[in-house]
């Protein structure tokens, strides 16, 4: 039975022949002369689209616009500066997911650079690794720099719960968890963003919160949305469905990713998050500004696990990288290649902005996976 999860849930959704036929169906569905501006909200979709080379295959009128759905890309510099300040404390071991280590903070500093200066910064692949580390190193303060959308919050909640059960007094989290609906609301309602004809909605976020969470948004902004998986056929089917809705003048929430997503999501995960976290009054998003009730912090009952309380941190005014158009890119208002620094001063090995670092960042996707223009030799 080895590999059968892949056989059932991955391989068929990458089938070249079915893909070819689906692309044919899209080409036929798209009305000649009409433009379909579709935003893939999730960085996961951005990554999949680039990795499978989909833009070249879609009809000219179908334009895919990268959204702000990359948690590390939208994290404002001030939050990274907080992590750097924590990492500089000798008693602290700062743990986080690998994505975050290379993101430029104020002045171009990064957690990797902090580590090279001697700070104890460690990459984990699971929130529970951070808890295990705290248990193993009782004389150190282990801080988990928690980040992510609704997908990633429940694993953080499990970690806090576990730390509570194990009675650890040296574990805390720096919560940067954010919520997708306020961001989509801002994109659809805000100024400076392009007019969108439809949205490819979050995959694994929806596994947790359910596709029902987006119904109000679609209706309010009269914009169709299709929740889609991260395989290429998932994306193509969502594109097909959105074109169909646009053509029909509908604005519904479709669920292409029914194998993983239900209307209500994972109630156990939602309940755990609800028990531990509460919305902050507002939270800053790179590109989108401060959005009300868009970020989560631990409830007062769990304040002892909250690094902001434990270490009396306040969020500094971070200095965003000068010249970087990440904010505009994240709204879909600017194409990465239109940023003057793209592929010249800002390159994957020497990124200026977060969007060039994360594997799900729009600029990294544009630089690494597409047919990038060659840079001039140094």
């Amino acid at each position: 039975m080895s590999g059968d999860a892949t056989d059932r849930f991955v391989a068929p959704f990458r089938d070249p022949e079915l893909g070819r036929r689906l692309l044919g169906a899209i080409a036929r569905a798209a009305r000649p002369g009409r433009t379909y501006a579709l935003m893939e909200f999730c960085g996961g979709h951005t990554h999949a689209i680039a990795r499978h080379g989909l833009p070249d295959l879609l009809p000219a009128g179908v334009r895919l616009i990268h959204g702000p759905g990359c948690p590390v890309c939208v994290l404002p510099v001030g939050r990274l500066d907080m992590a750097l300040a924590l990492a500089a404390r000798p008693e602290v071991i700062l743990t986080t997911y690998g994505d975050l280590l290379r993101i430029p903070a104020s002045g171009g500093d990064t957690l990797f650079k902090a580590r090279s200066r001697g700070a104890d910064v460690r990459m984990v692949t699971s929130s529970l690794d951070a808890v295990a580390l705290a248990a193993a190193q009782p004389d150190r303060q282990v801080v988990f720099m928690a980040i992510g959308f609704e997908t990633t919050t429940p694993p953080t909640a499990v970690a806090v719960k576990q730390a509570e059960e194990r009675g650890l007094d040296n574990f805390s989290i720096l919560s940067n968890h954010v919520l997708t609906p306020p961001a989509i609301d801002a994109i659809l309602g805000g100024s400076g963003a392009p007019r969108l004809d439809g949205i490819i909605g979050p995959a694994h976020v929806s596994t947790v919160i359910g596709w029902g969470a987006y119904q109000d948004l679609a209706a309010r902004h009269q914009t169709p949305m299709v929740i889609a998986g991260f395989e290429p056929l998932d994306v193509l089917q969502a594109v097909h469905d959105l074109i169909g809705q646009v053509n029909a003048g509908r604005a519904e929430v479709g669920n292409q990713y029914a194998r993983a997503v239900s209307r209500d999501g994972n109630p156990a995960a939602c309940a755990l998050v609800e028990a531990l976290f509460e919305p902050r009054p507002d939270f800053a998003w790179r590109g989108l500004g401060r959005l009300p009730r868009s970020g989560l912090k631990l409830r007062p009952a769990y304040a002892r696990f909250d690094a902001e309380a434990r270490f009396e941190l306040t969020e500094p005014e971070g200095r965003e990288p000068p010249g970087c158009a990440c904010g505009e890119v994240l709204k879909g208002a600017t194409e990465p290649a239109d940023c003057p620094l793209f592929a010249t001063r800002c390159r994957p090995e020497s990124p200026v902005g977060a969007c060039m670092v994360s594997a799900e960042g729009a600029c990294a996707a544009a630089h690494g996976h597409r047919r990038a223009p060659a840079a001039a030799p140094a």
């Binding site: 699971s126 979050p202 056929l233 995960a269």
Partner: protein, 79 residues
């Protein structure tokens, strides 16, 4: 960040852990978020946690829909 992969639960372990098989790769993960999970179930795995169960029938249904949609288009072409 939202990287997640499908896997089959090989064995449920104590303390809300389970051994999963993701494309021939075996790993121990937390199933605290899917308390009802059993061996043989399919789950979607994210940062060392099962986030939810996967429904093989729904997967097949989606594939059927895609095939139909693609075929419908081609049928149109043939006309």
């Amino acid at each position: 960040m939202c990287l997640a992969v499908p896997a089959r639960v090989v064995e449920v372990l104590p303390e809300a852990m389970a051994r999963i098989d993701a494309g021939g790769v075996l790993k121990d993960i937390s199933v605290a978020l899917v308390p009802e999970v059993a061996a043989g179930d399919y789950v979607i795995v994210h940062v060392g946690h099962a986030l939810g169960r996967l429904d093989a029938e729904e997967a097949q249904h989606t594939l059927d829909l895609i095939a139909e949609m693609a075929a419908a288009g081609e049928a149109c072409d043939e006309r």
